[in-house]
């Protein structure tokens, strides 16, 4: 028994070292004075300064934020509706189709999702003139579509756990279904909505492949700019950018995690 637990402790520790060494090295080298990424040249914050003066990165970050906020919000609306239909509504002809369509984006290779959405947009533009060209709008539609699936999973699990008798009591007391939803169901599943929103937002901020297919010349997102920079060679300001993103995400994940834990305990 003792020997096995020692083996477990060692292998788990090595696993966590494996998980965190790359991230820690990014953060450490973001404060490196040297131009050479892997040679330590003393402590410096100059790459952060360089980053904040780079109009290309700032512009792309702003575009990514806008796309993330709008697509996460839309994904929460449609994802919650999908979850409600799947958990609360009785059987109807389209239910298996909806179930399939909310699960499938999770396993679809990104290159296929991206390519197929782009081809749809091109054909739609030809047929009905909308969407005119590609840019933020088409990326927002694409991101909404695949993050909707993640929101639906999170909200569904919360709805399944929820005690339905409260809803039924309100209905018995004469409240309309819409009123019950907004006054009772929504507040109870709110933590799942916030967690789902943050998840969708992070997924949108992170996506390179689908955005590359669906965005137009004027709307490069942050991952697209990072990818083209990284391809040309490792540059230290990307380390600084990575560190900032890690900090923002850690805070966001921390909040989402706390909300989900609280939701589970209730």
């Amino acid at each position: 028994m003792k020997r096995r637990s020692l083996f477990l402790v060692i292998s788990a520790t090595l696993g966590f070292v494996f998980l965190y060494v790359p991230i820690v090295s990014l953060v450490v080298y973001s404060f490196n004075e040297s131009q050479l990424v892997t040679v330590w040249g003393g402590f410096s914050t100059k790459w952060y300064g360089e980053l904040l003066r780079d109009p290309q990165i700032l512009g792309a970050a702003w575009i990514s934020l806008k796309i993330g906020v709008v697509s996460a919000t839309l994904a929460v609306v449609f994802g919650t509706l999908a979850a409600l239909v799947l958990v609360r509504f009785g059987a109807f002809w389209g239910k298996p189709i909806l179930r399939g369509m909310t699960a499938a984006p999770l396993v679809m290779p990104e290159v296929i999702t991206g390519l197929s959405l782009l081809l749809l947009f091109v054909s739609m533009e030809q047929a009905i003139g909308w969407p005119a060209g590609r840019g933020m709008l088409t990326v927002i539609i694409a991101h909404t579509t695949f993050s909707l699936a993640y929101v639906a999973v999170v909200v569904q699990s919360r709805l399944v756990d929820m005690d339905r008798s409260i809803d039924e009591a309100a209905l018995d007391l004469g409240a309309t279904p819409v009123r019950v939803f907004f006054d009772i169901t929504l507040p109870i599943i709110a933590p799942a909505l916030i967690a789902g929103w943050l998840l969708a937002f992070t997924i949108s901020l992170d996506d390179l492949v689908v955005a590359s297919f669906t965005s137009g010349p004027g709307a490069s997102t942050l991952p697209m700019v990072i990818f083209s920079k990284v391809r040309l060679g490792v540059s230290p300001d990307v380390n600084a950018l990575a560190t900032l993103i890690i900090v923002v995400v850690a805070v966001g994940v921390g909040i989402a995690w706390a909300l989900m834990q609280r939701g589970q305990r209730k």
């Binding site: 096995r4 790359p22 396993v107 390519l115 197929s116 054909s123 579509t145 991952p223 966001g252």
Partner: protein, 284 residues
């Protein structure tokens, strides 16, 4: 009751238009020919006559590049999944066996990198694996090696990248499975004289197979279509089907061929996996 239909119609309509319809469009364009026009493919009907054909698919079969790319994607995804299982299983088991407050913290530590930018986590490995990168510098200063190991731009780097980025997908379902494991069974096994190793292989491992399967699927499926990892960490001869599709589309600008690659990928890889998964699920 009209509101009920609105609730159903909104997500159905969105997913129908932006998820289902696009695949029909890919299937349609895969039957056409590239053209120097906007959009860069030929029309489906010429003078009212159906002008599509299976030429792109025949080309897929005749050119060994595509066949090799499919096979090599499957091989790379499979090896990465096995490696992720070997790394992830002990971690998931250790987390599941640890006391409650620490367990929450460890789980959080597993999830945190998973939400940190995927692209940047792959990028971090460039800095570690380069010839003058952190790992080579360390090994050389310790005197373990005299000249740098060539790790970047090899299949090895691709395995590391896939295992690293998808490890949380392996750990979480395994953890969810192992945490439910009844400790009394393990005690019974050791009371009956089984060694820890035989308890593990005869009790723990068989009971955790659903978790192993779920985790392996979550790693294998996205790894198959991976583009970013082979593009940044792999060498010029690291062949993966996601990368081939990307090049066909962006470099060769052959939209119909890219569509045919996508359709074949769906039919040959994604659907069979989903189908076997469903079969296994319905049996357990």
């Amino acid at each position: 009751m009209s509101r009920r239909w609105l609730v159903i119609a909104l997500p159905m309509l969105w997913l129908g238009v932006f998820f289902l319809l696009p695949f029909l469009e890919v299937a349609r364009i895969s039957l056409l020919d590239p053209a120097i026009a906007r959009p860069p493919y030929s029309a489906m009907f010429e003078a009212g006559v159906f002008a599509g054909d299976l030429e792109n698919y025949l080309f897929l079969l005749s050119d060994s590049l595509y066949v090799n790319a499919y096979l090599s994607s499957i091989r790379i995804a499979f090896i990465s999944t096995v490696l992720a299982l070997l790394v992830g299983y002990p971690m998931a088991y250790a987390i599941a066996r640890s006391p409650e407050p620490r367990r929450t913290v460890l789980l959080f530590l597993v999830i945190l990198p998973f939400w940190t930018s995927f692209l940047l986590r792959v990028y971090a490995w460039i800095g570690l694996l380069k010839n003058n990168g952190l790992i080579n510098n360390m090994l050389m200063s310790l005197g373990v090696i005299d000249e740098p190991l060539i790790m970047l731009q090899t299949d090895f780097a691709v395995y590391v990248g896939i295992v690293y980025t998808y490890l949380p997908f392996m750990i979480l379902p395994l953890y969810a499975n192992l945490v439910k494991l009844d400790g009394a069974l393990l005690e019974a096994s050791s009371d009956l004289g089984a060694s820890p190793a035989s308890t593990f292989f005869r009790v723990t491992l068989p009971l955790s197979l659903p978790g192993v399967l779920a985790g392996s699927m979550l790693v294998f499926i996205p790894a198959i279509g991976e583009f970013v990892i082979p593009a940044l960490l792999g060498g010029p001869d690291t062949l993966m089907i996601g990368r081939v599709l990307w090049n066909e589309f962006f470099s060769n600008r052959d939209w119909p061929m890219a569509s045919a690659v996508a359709v074949a990928m769906l039919l040959l890889i994604v659907l069979p996996i989903l189908w076997t998964q469903k079969l296994v699920e319905s049996r357990t």
